[in-house]
């Protein structure tokens, strides 16, 4: 039987309690906000890029454990990645939380801890808010992202 602890794994509880890369990035050259109007989650993503490479990334905002942990894990995973790698990871992560497809757990690393979300469709938006925001930043979108 499915256990709620499969959703709220230790990694998630930990990243919710002490989110990594949390706070404003003063020398960011790209900033974008994301909202989930249904539940009021909001975050701001800060990126410092050098050409095609993510030099530094951070976020702030407020939301549930799933959305905070997801943003914390995502920002950890993105440091030093190229924008193309980031987009690749976005697709992999999206598959992880919305499908039963085989995913590349090696590539996902700690992000795989969010796999439990797929059993809670109502929470997919919480986990993907930061990712949609990152995707929009990479696409050069200036408008705040909304999950609705």
């Amino acid at each position: 039987m499915f256990d709620i602890k499969d959703l709220y794994q230790e990694v998630i509880v930990d990243h919710n309690r002490s989110p990594r890369n949390f706070g404003k990035l003063d020398d960011a050259n790209k900033t974008l906000e994301g909202f989930n109007p249904l539940c009021g989650d909001r975050l701001t993503l800060y990126l410092k890029t050098d050409g095609n490479k993510i030099d530094d990334i951070a976020f702030d905002g407020s939301g549930c454990a799933i959305s905070v942990a997801s943003a914390s894990l995502m920002t950890d995973a993105m440091k030093g990645k190229s924008l193309d790698e980031a987009e690749g990871l976005f697709n992999e992560f999206h598959d992880l939380i919305t499908t039963e497809n085989e995913v590349d757990t090696e590539q996902l690393g700690k992000l795989a801890a969010l796999a439990g979300v797929r059993d809670y469709p109502a929470r997919v938006k919480c986990a993907s808010l930061c990712w949609h925001t990152l995707h929009a930043v990479i696409q050069g979108d200036d408008n705040p992202v909304s999950t609705e």
């Binding site: 709220y8 509880v13 539940c39 009021g40 939301g63 109502a122 929470r123």
Partner: protein, 419 residues
């Protein structure tokens, strides 16, 4: 009206037979995620008794047809039952006439109807509308739209830390420019029962009309529009154990007569020519098009159902559940109740230190417990308390002390998961 002051009274619980009413609600015996359902989201929508379900089934099986237009037997029957339901609503809220009972899609449409007919006809840039910080978005946004259309100014009555309206501030806002006061009878986010009798009286003293959003009130208190002397009263069928998609607007006849129609179409006309249309009499003037016939008939059945129940006794029973929940919750460290009005209904809104309401909602769902987590369509209330959201358990008369126990255990589970 002392029948509303049930919040703090304690009487013998045995006077309300909860097992008897539970047997009427088939859904309460369903399982969710392998656990028996504990339904504590009644403020969002109430469950339906088998009597209402059967009425809907019978309508569709035996006499489904359009109303007010056929000469055939089925249409006559459907029309008769539809209009009978209108009469039931009239009796239920003690209106003077069936002409004062307009069927709408729900509270939201009832309020929009008043804004776009009464409001547009009567308000201009010198006028003021008073609403409150406690309102549901459906009693805020229609007035913001009207304010944009007419230039009328919106003023908000503030609330105190318990979630009660500050009446002195209300009195300061009232003046000869006030055209309309529009206010919830009971707050959906906090459960506060507002002193609407006083509010109505004071509004009338400056010549303003009053709309009451009764969405949360009709399932918990007897509403008597005559005694209240409100000008409009809006509510939804689905919170009253009836179907979704059907609601009521009560309006004083003279006001409704003077208002222009809301929507044009079939049923709301007497004659139509290429040049001119004459509108139908009340209440049909405001019911354009084929209405939600099954919904109206189902609402009639829901009213029959609650009329068999002593709502006063039921409300006392619900308040005992609330009190029990409060006592149990007081043992839980980090739990902060939001909305502690002296006079309130059985809505238990709270936050837990370090745990977001959505996570509470998911963990409780895993235990088969349905609550609401979020801003409850009352973002100004959340802003007032400087929180993004709350978890809200809302009780109906079919809930039990065991449901409260399950809730409290579920909250413990939340703390375990996050420990």
């Amino acid at each position: 009206m002392n029948k509303q002051n049930t919040a703090t009274k304690l009487t013998n619980e045995a006077s309300f037979d909860v097992e008897k009413v539970r047997a009427d609600f088939p859904i309460l015996f369903e399982q969710v995620r392998g656990k028996p359902l504990v339904y504590l989201d009644n403020a969002a929508t109430a469950q339906k008794p088998k009597q209402v379900i059967k009425t809907l089934d019978t309508y569709y099986r035996e006499y489904n047809s359009n109303i007010h237009r056929g000469v055939h037997t089925l249409s006559e029957k459907a029309t008769a039952v539809y209009e009978e339901a209108r009469n039931k609503v009239k009796e239920f809220i003690n209106a003077d006439s069936i002409k004062e009972i307009i069927f709408t899609r729900g509270t939201t449409e009832s309020i929009n109807l008043v804004a776009q007919t009464f409001g547009r006809n009567n308000l201009s840039s010198n006028d003021e509308i008073i609403i409150t910080e406690l309102e549901h978005h459906s009693n805020i946004v229609p007035w913001q739209i009207l304010s944009e259309q007419t230039g009328a100014t919106l003023k908000y009555v503030p609330i105190n830390d318990a979630g009660e309206l500050i009446l002195e501030e209300y009195e300061k806002l009232l003046n000869e420019k006030t055209r309309l006061v529009t206010i919830g009878h009971i707050s959906n986010a906090l459960g506060t029962i507002n002193p609407i009798e006083t509010i109505i009286e004071k509004a009338h003293a400056v010549g303003a009309k009053v709309l009451i959003d009764g969405a949360q009130a009709v399932p918990h208190t007897r509403v008597d529009v005559n005694e209240l002397n409100c000008d409009f009263y809006a509510f939804s069928g689905h919170k009253l154990f009836g179907p979704t998609g059907i609601g009521v607007l009560y309006g004083k006849q003279a006001l409704l007569e003077a208002m222009p129609p809301y929507q044009g179409g079939g049923d709301m006309i007497k004659t139509v020519s290429m040049k001119k249309t004459t509108y139908n009499d009340l209440p049909h003037k405001f019911e354009a098009g084929t209405p939600h016939i099954a919904g109206v008939i189902g609402l009639g059945s829901a009213i029959d159902y609650v009329s068999e129940i002593d709502l006063h006794e039921a409300a006392e029973y619900e308040n005992q559940l609330l009190q029990y929940a409060n006592e149990q919750a007081a043992q839980i460290s980090g739990l902060v109740p939001v909305g502690t009005a002296k006079n309130k209904t059985s809505i238990f809104s709270f936050t837990l230190d370090g745990i977001h309401p959505h996570d509470i909602g998911t963990i409780l769902d895993d235990e088969g417990i349905a609550i609401r987590a979020g801003h409850h369509c009352a973002m100004p209330v959340m802003e007032r308390f400087k929180i993004p959201a709350t978890a809200r358990a809302s009780f109906a008369f079919y809930n039990t002390r065991e449901d409260v126990d399950a809730l409290i255990q579920g909250i413990d589970k939340c703390k375990q998961v996050f420990s």
